[in-house]
């Protein structure tokens, strides 16, 4: 019965969203790093360019006196990073993946040479997060699309992370939707953000909005908050960009489902 109602809701909102060309997305991440030369000495004043591989949008910055650079408000996606400085070869790395709310470190090591020469480096993006004390886990598109999910209730994905326990209240009559205990806390203290915007009902522990689309990526940070990100529309609007994009996530925004 509930399932049937959800299905109706699903369809209605789907049609509405087909006409919507873009959404606001407030959830962002950060890309930071240090520029050094091969001997490990700091390189100040190097030009750092961060390019979104899916939309082509670029942002530019420079390393400061201690060789550090920092890009705030970076949208989730795949990026390339280029570092240039006179007297050094151009440094580029193409496989920088930025996850929800991440502080992604990419350190650059410049080699002496002409700027016209360039060195492409793979694996420069740090896989270990040493720039944040937050403890969390990212659930990616592939898992979200493939794994069995009861009632397509997205909050159940939080159960894939450690220290999260199913609450018996999720099955009470009436059920408390999205009820799970994190680090032994009451489910009342869970907080849901959708694209960075508050999505709480403030009566129990509710997530409010049924998702129209499968979320693009989701980050559960036990003890702090529960983040969720819808697919970005940019790829959908730019078929050329989409063709370049290799991430399976790009398909996601275009599928809709019917709960039977």
């Amino acid at each position: 019965m509930t399932c049937l109602r959800k299905a109706t809701l699903f369809l209605t909102v789907c049609f509405l969203s087909l006409t919507a060309l873009a959404y606001g997305q407030f959830e962002s991440a950060e890309v930071l790093g240090t520029v050094r030369d091969t001997s490990g000495a700091i390189v100040a004043g190097a030009t750092v360019t961060l390019t979104n591989l899916e939309t082509g949008i670029q942002s530019q910055g420079a390393s400061d006196a201690s060789g550090d650079y920092d890009f705030f408000n970076v949208k989730v996606g795949r990026y390339s990073l280029a570092v240039e400085k006179t007297g050094f070869e151009k440094f580029t790395t193409k496989d920088v993946r930025v996850d929800v709310n991440a502080r992604q470190r990419v350190d650059a090591a410049l080699q002496v040479g002409a700027v016209t020469q360039s060195v492409e480096v793979t694996g420069a993006a740090a896989t270990l997060d040493t720039d944040s004390s937050e403890h969390g886990e990212v659930v990616n598109t592939q898992q979200i699309v493939d794994l069995p999910l009861n009632g397509r209730n997205y909050s159940d994905l939080a159960l894939l992370t450690t220290n999260v326990h199913r609450s018996i209240y999720a099955y009470a009559v009436p059920p408390r939707e999205g009820a799970f205990n994190v680090n032994g806390m009451r489910s009342t203290y869970n907080s849901f953000l959708l694209d960075g915007v508050d999505n709480n009902a403030y009566s129990t522990s509710n997530q409010v909005v049924y998702l129209v689309q499968v979320p693009h990526q989701l980050r559960a940070s036990p003890g702090i908050r529960f983040r969720l990100l819808r697919g970005q529309r940019a790829e959908h609007l730019r078929p050329v960009q989409r063709a370049q994009s290799l991430q399976p996530g790009c398909e996601v925004h275009q599928h809709y489902e019917l709960c039977l």
């Binding site: 493939d146 794994l147 069995p148 326990h165 032994g184 009342t188």
Partner: protein, 160 residues
């Protein structure tokens, strides 16, 4: 034809197993034992803990006598907090295995149909809820709730 029958199958599972959540054993105080008043506990109601002694020969089972190996007594009004430690007991363990078996059907180059069948708690393992942990209740030490039994969900998805 061969691809239609043998191709496009997908199997995915989630196995969840964890020990139970911590439990506090408490009592409902009489007016003489009460130090905070009975207000909803997220506003700061004191959980009144009783005294405990072991009861090695007691009847113990999960569903009806969860705390059968212990004897609890209400402390005197002069000393309303007993000696049971905070979170000194654990609820029942939880184990669930979810299974998804999906099949893709190719219709056109850019049009695919997916039939999903998802089995939650596929082995139908009984996961008990939490026991009544208030010694003033008639139902003290009993579990009268369970997590869901096996649930099956089918879905049809069009990918384009």
């Amino acid at each position: 034809m061969v691809d239609g029958i043998l191709g496009g199958w997908e199997v995915d599972t989630i196995n969840t197993a964890n020990s139970g959540t911590p439990l506090d054993v408490a009592y409902t105080p009489s007016a003489t034992n009460d130090v905070t008043g009975r207000i909803p506990d997220y506003r700061g109601e004191a959980i009144m803990r009783p005294n405990v002694v072991p009861n090695p020969g007691g009847v113990h089972d999960q569903i009806n006598h969860y705390y059968g190996l212990y004897t609890f007594t209400t402390p005197p009004a002069s000393d309303p907090f007993g000696n049971v430690g905070r979170n000194s007991f654990r609820g029942p363990d939880f184990w669930q295995w979810d299974l998804g078996v999906d099949k893709f059907f190719r219709i056109r180059e850019n049009l695919r149909l997916q039939f999903r069948s998802e089995y939650f708690n596929a082995l139908n393992h009984t996961n008990l809820g939490i026991p009544d942990s208030n010694i003033s209740d008639a139902a003290f030490g009993t579990i009268r709730s369970t997590f869901p039994a096996r649930q099956i969900q089918f879905a049809l998805k069009v990918l384009f």
